[in-house]
């Protein structure tokens, strides 16, 4: 692509009010001289006109405003009633409970009945049982 075509493409994306007189003159001259750019610009314009014609004008209504204002006032009230440090207190209590539970397990470990796994080991090692029962 020629540098002038690249420039044309860049400038043709701008609106008339965003262009200087010199740039407008360049666009007009290049449009006359370059058929490829002219055709591409025509195709782009047709596609964008189609897009603009299909623009949706939905803007919400007063009910939206009222709903939103209510939501915000409810949220604000809830925030005022819940102190900012409440989540920190809740987290601290949960952490303390977890630490206590761990300490309980550590200090009473010897009192806990050991789990006898010998039977399981014996069954797995037994010669009259296949090593992989599912493979049978």
């Amino acid at each position: 692509m020629k540098p002038s075509c690249t420039r044309f493409e860049r400038l043709s994306a701008l609106r008339a009010q965003e262009l200087s007189d010199r740039e407008t003159a360049f666009l007009e001259a290049h449009r006359l001289a370059c058929e490829t750019c002219r055709k591409r610009e025509f195709g782009t314009r047709a596609a964008l006109n189609f897009l603009q014609d299909a623009g949706l004008d939905h803007e919400g209504d007063d009910a939206f405003d009222r709903r939103l204002a209510t939501l915000w006032s409810v949220e604000k009230r809830a925030r005022r009633e819940t102190p900012v440090w409440a989540p920190a207190i809740a987290s601290a209590v949960m952490a303390a409970l977890a630490v206590l539970a761990v300490l309980q397990v550590i200090t009473h470990r010897e009192e806990l009945e050991p789990i006898d796994v010998r039977g399981h080991e014996a069954r797995l090692a037994s010669p009259d049982r296949p090593e992989f029962p599912l493979a049978r």
């Binding site: 493409e9 860049r10 994306a13 965003e18 591409r40 195709g43 782009t44 047709a46 596609a47 964008l48 189609f50 897009l51 603009q52 014609d53 299909a54 623009g55 949706l56 004008d57 939905h58 803007e59 919400g60 939206f64 405003d65 709903r67 939103l68 204002a69 939501l71 915000w72 006032s73 949220e75 604000k76």
Partner: protein, 187 residues
Amino acid sequence: MPDVNSLALRATPEQIAEELRCLDRCRRGDTQATHALIARHRRRLVRVATNVLRDPCEAEDVAQEAFLKAFRELHKLRDDRAFAGFLYRICVRLCLDRLRGRRAEPAEFDRAQPSGGPQIETRVLVENLLGELPAELRMTLVLRELEQFSYEEIAQFMHVPVGTVRSRLHTAREKFRKAYEEALAGA
């Protein structure tokens, strides 16, 4: 990055002054001021979200979420003149999240809204053509071609340099044109 303070979405000095007063009162918990801010920005914000998402109900959800998030994070706003840009940036980010979360499937007739605006076939075709674009390209194209925002405003909303907006817009236009021409040839 463009200067966010220079972007007040084409508001007059009186409107900007009124908005600054509203924001100040809103921070102090004034419900009327909150109402005024919503009323001032709702139309455009909902329309932008509708044209990006092509679904009015989803657009209202997003606009509502954007307002709530903006009010919650009002303390983060260093310059109140940038409120409009701040609000649109949140909305654009939420729309992009929704677009990325969508499954790629062609639009159907029952998803289009029944009344007002363009013909249903046109809407479905536009939705399918836009659906072929990645979320960022689709957003850039809609903000520029349907909502008529400047490159600087789009750069601010999408938190990217102006050069990125320019190149994304170029790619989006090309892809949209090709998809449109293919659709015409196939019809």
